[in-house]
């Protein structure tokens, strides 16, 4: 039961931030879909009225969460995860298809998206699994299990055709990093993204030359073997010269990037042998990464072809390779116009012309940040970023205070999921990321997302009230 004790233990700062986001979100939804004929923000026939309904339901759920026992939550973790996975499977057969993805259950007038609930379910399951004494993440079995936990919903959601929601699970890498995953994994993820983008913008041989140069430099710094480094470097140059000679004398038609990449690979292989012999592990890793990079870069085209055509277009628009303000680039262009036209203090509540006249599609859901940008200007937009940043830091701060590993990992998961969502959502509205359709937490219109994020956050706050207990 809620008693004075628990009320004192609740982190009211987080609750306050939550309320701030939810209410500001609601006001912006009102503005986004404002209808002259239904001026009341409470009008249930309009989306703002419906959102209020969701907010009330969310509040009820909050009370319910505070009423349950943290221990019960902890012990139901796998069950909840299981149910969610089941729902994700069922949605294939019973779901409604919208926007090309098969990810909604329709119950009467309401639609529920199980993918939204998969996030906190996964957070619970991962936290539960890792909540063991002396849990060693890098133990192969443990690592495999955790990876499986993450991959299962990821793949199911991907199969539903909702790539955006699926990508969210990548963010668990940050949680795992906190729990012992080597930095190398973050670095590889980073390289994966970089190498995906670079071939669109630069010539292949340039990319190879640049990274080979950097790798040789690192190799030199780490191994401190000047002679050997010089040898490898000379081999690299030598093979290049042969290749260039072949080109010059018209013996064969070889693309220039192929000469560079082949010499890079050969030089790397030599470096690997050398590293193995001398037992310089870090140098070995550099060489391996370099080789993988070369192959990866060559496969980007292939990977890109695997994407759906509208996903391809969104990426090309983001990379500014196609300038299309009519179709694929329409959203992002209008979104930028909406935000950019806000100026310092915005056009004022209900005064946004982009917003009011529906220039930005899906503005009350995925593009709600446009309304903030247009009507509340730089001041409003930056405030939202700062509030989210504050919320994330607050959750991390609380997570670190948990006595139980379960609480800590769950806290980090909560922070990571919110970070990814807010980060990607805002990034896509200002064209810092390709258009990935995921909602802005607590802000965007939609019951599933509001309730799922509320549950995610308040389970953590509930756990936090018993932070001194071992769950």
């Amino acid at each position: 039961m809620i008693n004075k004790g628990i009320i004192l233990k609740i982190d009211w700062l987080t609750v306050f931030i939550y309320l701030l986001l939810v209410l500001f979100g609601w006001v912006n939804i009102y503005s986004s879909v404002y209808n002259e004929e239904h001026k009341s923000i409470f009008d249930i026939s309009q989306r703002y009225g419906k959102q209020l309904l969701w907010i009330i339901i969310a509040f009820a759920i909050i009370i319910f969460i505070f009423l349950t026992d943290s221990y019960i939550i902890s012990s139901l973790s796998y069950f909840i995860y299981g149910i969610t996975i089941l729902m994700l499977i069922l949605v294939f057969f019973l779901g409604e298809a919208t926007h090309g993805s098969h990810s909604w259950f329709k119950i009467g007038d309401f639609k529920i998206q199980p993918a939204e609930f998969a996030k906190f379910a996964l957070a619970l399951a991962v936290s539960k699994y890792m909540n063991k004494e002396n849990f060693e993440l890098m133990d192969l079995r443990n690592f495999a299990t955790v990876t499986a936990f993450i991959l299962l919903p990821f793949l199911l959601i991907l199969l539903q055709g909702d790539a955006g929601s699926a990508l969210v699970f990548i963010v668990f890498i940050l949680v795992l990093y906190r729990e012992g995953l080597p930095f190398m994994f973050l670095f590889i993820l980073f390289l994966t993204i970089i190498f995906f983008i670079l071939p669109f913008k630069f010539e292949l041989y340039g990319i190879f030359l640049f990274f080979t140069a950097i790798s040789i430099l690192f190799f030199l710094l780490i191994s401190k073997k000047y002679k050997e480094t010089l040898k490898i470097f000379l081999i690299f140059i030598g093979i290049n010269l042969i290749g260039i000679a072949v080109l010059l004398f018209n013996v064969a038609e070889i693309p220039f990037h192929l000469i560079i990449s082949v010499s890079t690979i050969i030089a790397s292989i030599i470096a690997i042998f050398y590293s193995l012999k001398k037992r310089i592990n870090s140098a070995l890793i550099i060489a391996v990464i370099l080789i993988s990079s070369v192959f990866y870069v060559y496969s980007v085209d292939f990977l890109f072809d695997k994407l759906g055509s509208h996903q391809q277009k969104r990426i090309l628009v983001f990379l500014d390779i196609i300038q299309d303000t009519k179709e694929a680039g329409y959203n992002i262009n209008q979104s930028k116009i909406a935000i950019g036209s806000g100026g310092l203090t915005g056009k004022g509540f209900l005064k946004g012309t982009q917003t009011k006249y529906n220039f930005v599609p899906e503005q009350e859901t995925d593009y709600i940040y446009c309304t903030v940008g247009e009507e509340w200007g730089f001041v409003g937009s930056v405030s939202v970023i700062l509030i989210f940043t504050l919320l994330i830091f607050r959750i991390v701060f609380l997570a670190e205070k948990q006595r139980s590993t379960f609480g800590r990992i769950y806290g980090y998961s909560t922070a990571a999921i919110l970070f990814f969502h807010y980060g990607i959502n805002i990034a896509m509205t200002i064209n810092l990321a390709p258009s990935i359709g995921i909602p802005l937490p607590f802000f965007s219109y939609g019951g599933s997302s509001l309730i799922a994020f509320t549950i995610l956050l308040f389970i953590f706050l509930k756990i936090d009230t018993s932070r001194n207990e071992i769950l």
Binding site: L174, Y177, R178, F183, L186, Q334, K336, I337, A338, I339, G340, S341, G342, G343, L344, T353, Q354, K356, Y357, N358, F359, G373, E374, G377, F378, S381, V382, I385, L386, F388, T389, I392, F393, V396, F419, G423, I426, A427, I430, L432
Partner: protein, 597 residues
């Protein structure tokens, strides 16, 4: 552990910071997004003012605006409607209506179902419009000419061209502007001032409301109404008389310079050039025989023939080379190379020279004028003579308010110097000028103005066609008297002689009982065909009310066609009726175009 926290914090903070930088750049630094948003959301709808109405001198409308109605619809907004009734009301067949509605374009784009519905049909349609709530009416106005007269004068309006767009920033593509006639010369007065309504529009470009409640909207201001000096009845009569004849009639009120009638024949029905009909009809009309679009009375420069003689006499009197009593013994005039024929011979005085139109008399007049001892050379004498003509408005642009007037033709002395060599020409070389032939060309307007100058005994007021502009003063130059250098006293004998021309001279056919008409016939030789028939006249002799010039191309003697036409016009204007029906019928039936073929 600490390093991990720092890296994680860095990731979160770096993200936030890069977003803030990006926001700063698009929201604060760049202004293009603001402009794009405005362009997205504002629609400027021009409010077109009503173009000014033009009245005749008696308040009769010459041209006014009539509203026509376009029935429009946005297909996307269209719900089921009574197709049959709409077809009945608009007179469009059902299959055509379906074709119109299914036109291949954005469903959000307005479609015009029926264009320029006249007001009578609209009145019926309006009653039932409530049953078609998805359709709406857009009002436009077109020019309407109650009588098909004065086409050349009134001119027409059409879409402004690229040059017009460049020259005057008032215009936008698709705006209408005066192309010719009054519509052109009074464009600035007639057009009024456009207003603008600013609307907010949504992504489909449909109107959502007024921008700032219409705070920045401006109202269209209607154009000024013009009161023309034209007498519609006289104009209509003149056009009737000129049917099947080439040429022009210009009648001026001498005391004011107001143009009473301005006929150029052939003409066309101005209603042919209204609205959309312009593009359809323009080429058809322009390519008709004898180019009806060409304003002959304003632009065609023709030799004045003997109508020039009164002015030649006046100049000679002013220069003192002849006087009212100068008598000459004439029997043709020998230039040395050929003889100028004459209608009379023997002793001819000034009055007779005009009354019977003596050619030889005026050859001598020119000889005396050009060999005047006051001047050092023939060049000087000729230039002085030319200056006199200019003071009558001949050979210069009068500055009338009808656009595109011609200057007329009087060559400068230097032309003859160049053509014949300096010192190698004399009065005999250019003797034909003395009788209004050769290197002289005046417009009918100039001839009418010359006549008005004689009627005024020495001055004229720039002939003009607009006597009043509501809410605005007319150009003061249309009040200003322009004097010739001829003393008033010299005019009396000339005017007396001109009276005799009609009473007992070459133009007895122009005689009207009880009205004293002073006139002068002219017959201009035309190397391309029959002579041109010319007549100038003013009446009554005392306090003249009308000065008129009639130029009938290929009409033969001045007395045959031009004189009776002028006479009928004078009678019509002064008495408001015509009593000489026989003469009238003969003129009306006279066909100088078909007869030639």
């Amino acid at each position: 552990m600490e390093i991990k926290k720092i890296i994680l914090s860095f990731i979160v903070l770096f993200t936030a910071l890069s977003y803030i930088v990006k926001l700063y750049s698009i929201q604060i630094v760049e202004s293009k997004y603001k402009l794009s948003a405005d362009n997205n959301a504002h629609r400027y709808v021009t409010q077109y003012p009503a173009r000014g109405t033009i009245f005749d001198r008696n308040g009769e409308m010459l041209v006014f605006n009539q509203n026509v109605y376009d029935l429009k619809v946005i297909p996307k907004r269209l719900s089921a409607f009574d197709t049959l009734k709409l077809c009945e009301l608009t007179g469009i067949s059902k299959s055509k209506l379906i074709d119109i509605l299914n036109i291949k374009q954005s469903r959000y784009k307005t479609i015009t179902i029926l264009k320029q519905i006249p007001s009578e049909q609209y009145a019926v349609l309006q009653e039932y419009l409530y049953r078609f709530p998805d359709f709406y009416i857009e009002t436009r106005s077109v020019r309407v000419y109650p009588k098909p007269i004065a086409a050349h004068l009134l001119g027409y309006i059409g879409e402004v061209n690229e040059k017009g767009l460049e020259q005057d920033k008032y215009y936008r593509m698709g705006d209408f502007t005066g192309i010719t006639g009054i519509e052109k010369s009074y464009e600035k007065e007639l057009r009024g001032k456009k207003g603008v309504k600013i609307y907010l529009v949504d992504v489909h470009n449909s109107i959502q409301g007024k921008y700032k409640n219409g705070k920045y909207d401006t109202v269209a201001i209607a154009g000024h109404n013009l009161i023309s000096s034209i007498d519609a009845k006289l104009q209509e009569y003149g056009e009737q008389l000129m049917q099947n004849k080439l040429g022009g009639i210009v009648a001026i009120e001498p005391a004011t310079g107001e143009i009473l009638s301005f006929v150029s024949s052939p003409s066309y029905d101005p209603n042919l050039f209204v609205g959309r009909k312009l593009s359809k009809n323009y080429n058809k009309v322009a390519n008709r025989e004898y180019r009806p679009l060409y304003n002959r009375a304003l632009k065609s420069q023709q030799p004045p023939g003997s109508t020039f003689k009164p002015v030649a006499a006046l100049i000679a009197m002013q220069e003192g080379v002849i006087d009212a009593n100068t008598v000459m013994n004439v029997n043709g005039y020998n230039t040395g190379t050929h003889i100028v024929n004459d209608h009379i011979s023997g002793a001819v005085n000034l009055q007779m020279s005009i009354q019977y139109s003596s050619n030889a008399y005026y050859c001598h007049v020119l000889k005396r004028t050009l060999n005047d001892e006051k001047f050092n050379s023939i060049d000087e004498a000729y230039s002085n003579w030319k200056q006199h003509l200019h003071s009558f408005g001949l050979g210069v642009k009068l500055g009338t308010d009808i656009a595109y007037e011609s200057k007329g033709l009087i060559y400068p002395a230097s032309y003859f110097d160049k053509y014949y060599g300096k010192g190698h020409w004399n009065h005999n070389t250019i003797i034909s000028l003395s009788i209004g032939q050769g290197e002289l060309g005046f417009t009918t307007l100039q001839l009418a103005n010359m006549t008005a100058t004689i009627a005024n005994k020495g001055y004229f007021i720039t002939p003009h066609i607009i006597k009043k502009i509501t809410g605005k003063k007319i150009d003061p130059k249309y009040k200003h008297k322009r004097y010739t250098k001829i003393k008033e006293e010299h005019f009396y004998p000339i005017i007396d002689a001109m009276e005799k021309v009609v009473y007992a001279g070459t133009a007895r056919r122009a005689f009207i009982p009880h009205i004293s008409i002073c006139g002068k016939t002219g017959t201009a030789q035309n190397p391309h065909g029959d002579d041109h028939s010319i007549f100038i006249a003013f009446a009554p002799k005392y306090r003249p009310k009308i000065a008129i010039a009639v130029y009938i191309e290929n009409g033969g003697y001045g007395s045959t066609w031009a004189a009776p036409i002028a006479s009928l016009m004078i009678e019509k204007y002064l008495t408001d009726s015509v009593t000489r029906h026989k003469l009238e019928t003969k003129i009306l039936e006279g066909d100088l175009i078909s007869d030639k073929k």
